[in-house]
Symmetry: C2
Subunit: 342 residues, 2 copies
Amino acid sequence: MTASFTIALDVMGGDHGASVILPAARRSLKVADDFRLLLVGDQETIESGISGWSASERERVEMVHASQVVGMDELPAVALRTKRDSSMRVAIDQVKNGAAQACVSAGNTGGLMATARYVLKTLPGIDRPAIATALPSMNGHTHMLDLGANVDVEAAHLYQFAVMGSVLANAVDGLEAPRVGLLNIGSEAIKGNDRVREAGRMLEESSLNYIGFVEGNDVYCGDVDVVVCDGFVGNVALKISEGVAKMISSKMKAEFDASVFSRLSGLFALPVLRRIRHRFDHRRYNGASLLGLQGVVIKSHGSADELAFEHAIRIARIEAEANISSRIDKQLGQLLGQETSE
Amino acid sequence: MTASFTIALDVMGGDHGASVILPAARRSLKVADDFRLLLVGDQETIESGISGWSASERERVEMVHASQVVGMDELPAVALRTKRDSSMRVAIDQVKNGAAQACVSAGNTGGLMATARYVLKTLPGIDRPAIATALPSMNGHTHMLDLGANVDVEAAHLYQFAVMGSVLANAVDGLEAPRVGLLNIGSEAIKGNDRVREAGRMLEESSLNYIGFVEGNDVYCGDVDVVVCDGFVGNVALKISEGVAKMISSKMKAEFDASVFSRLSGLFALPVLRRIRHRFDHRRYNGASLLGLQGVVIKSHGSADELAFEHAIRIARIEAEANISSRIDKQLGQLLGQETSE
């Protein structure tokens, strides 16, 4: 099979850089054979990292040298101004110049967002890109956005997030009319703040499958496909979910370790507990989409391991294949056209 | 032992009214003998509800008739204007006129907050009351506020919430200098929005044990005693935590039910799973405090069962005994005095 598209990887980004990202890249090549990789970063590091790869694996990758690395704590503006040859920037450049159809970076979120926005530009009609990810739910998963790119938003931004999330769920999950909910603190129309109420009115008049206000607990219930909120709320929601899951799992471990009997019963329960852990493995949810840009950019968790980073590459493949950016562009054009013609 | 204080119960509030609240009241009388109850509501309903109580139980309660009930979906302003003889209003009146040192209601949050604020007034220096509750953490619990009373806040309000939360943790948990954190989306000072950053600067200059910004996952880690945020974020955080916990517990049940072997291993693990469930039983966390008022008002979950409502009465006892309102008043006076004298 000839490669139908190419993904650029920022090999130097994240907490572990090439030591995790190159093995993850190799894993991803085994999973599917219809794509190629551009490995962006320090040439020497990459060459030594892939020296043990097979000839057929090496045939599917190409190196792109970049002399700089954006630090995890670097300010976005500084990264943008002083790191024009960073692996992050050069990986995004590959999408801009058409050499790749998507890029993946585990580098710092602020720097990645600022650079991607500067290099790729936003789609017409999108004021601000948003960060979206899938969260496990009772019967599948729920897409949530924004997760931290925009702390202060207007109603119009929430509306744009809803459009982008709907296109994402349509493209990734093949849903005809994804159910879109607006995160609020009560399902009654009088509750919440002005921004959320106004966004609700805008969405009611749109052709999206808007199901109204949803509350925090609805994110995980499986009755909504896309949950829209501002970046402050979304980021807190995401991290608080991690906190709850971690506490429950640690308390379970402690309880099973508490006595000989409970250790024994833990042994019996092990296969079941392992299945549960697998289902909620956050690594299987790694890979957040920067939506609203003229190109596909996927952000991996900075501390991602091989399995997690490979999952981020998988998301990039799906979004590149689905041509998500032009789909958002098209749907937004339709929605805006439709509204003005009404 | 003679009763040292009195708690007024809104017997008619919540989803279940007297059928749950009277049995819960009876339970609470068994737990401690240093308090009395005022049962506020329809006299006939209450009389028939306590007809089976022992003489010593009946000696510790008094009925206060109220002819109206505030509905769960009633608008706060309507409840306030048209329900002057509601069980909710009359229960709060008992605190105002000194007949009770605290009151508990499972009625609707908006109505309770509006009525409590109108009848009791806020403490000097407090612009807006906040709702606080304790959440289980890795090694105890964390107090969080505001949970929904204030959706749009200024930095000064977050500062006041921090003072109130600190006093609450001090009074309830006996902590000398509770660690107070401000919920944000990154621990670096440059992140978050203007309100949160400004509140952070104010808290740094205060004599509170302010530990800086905390993120969503820190709420459950046990390294902070009081987490401060606006009511929109707090409400989402609370409900999303419920959603995660519910999903995990339901998936666990499904996995253990999946096969004969897993059912068997679930049987072995049952005592351990039961202990875990007990530890995270949300009923044992029922009872949110309306802080910043000239009097103690506790809000129970509307759907609370006997055990949960009894826990809300327990919180009322603790706060009445600790005289929480005058403690907040005193600490706020000291902090404000201290600041102006600097």
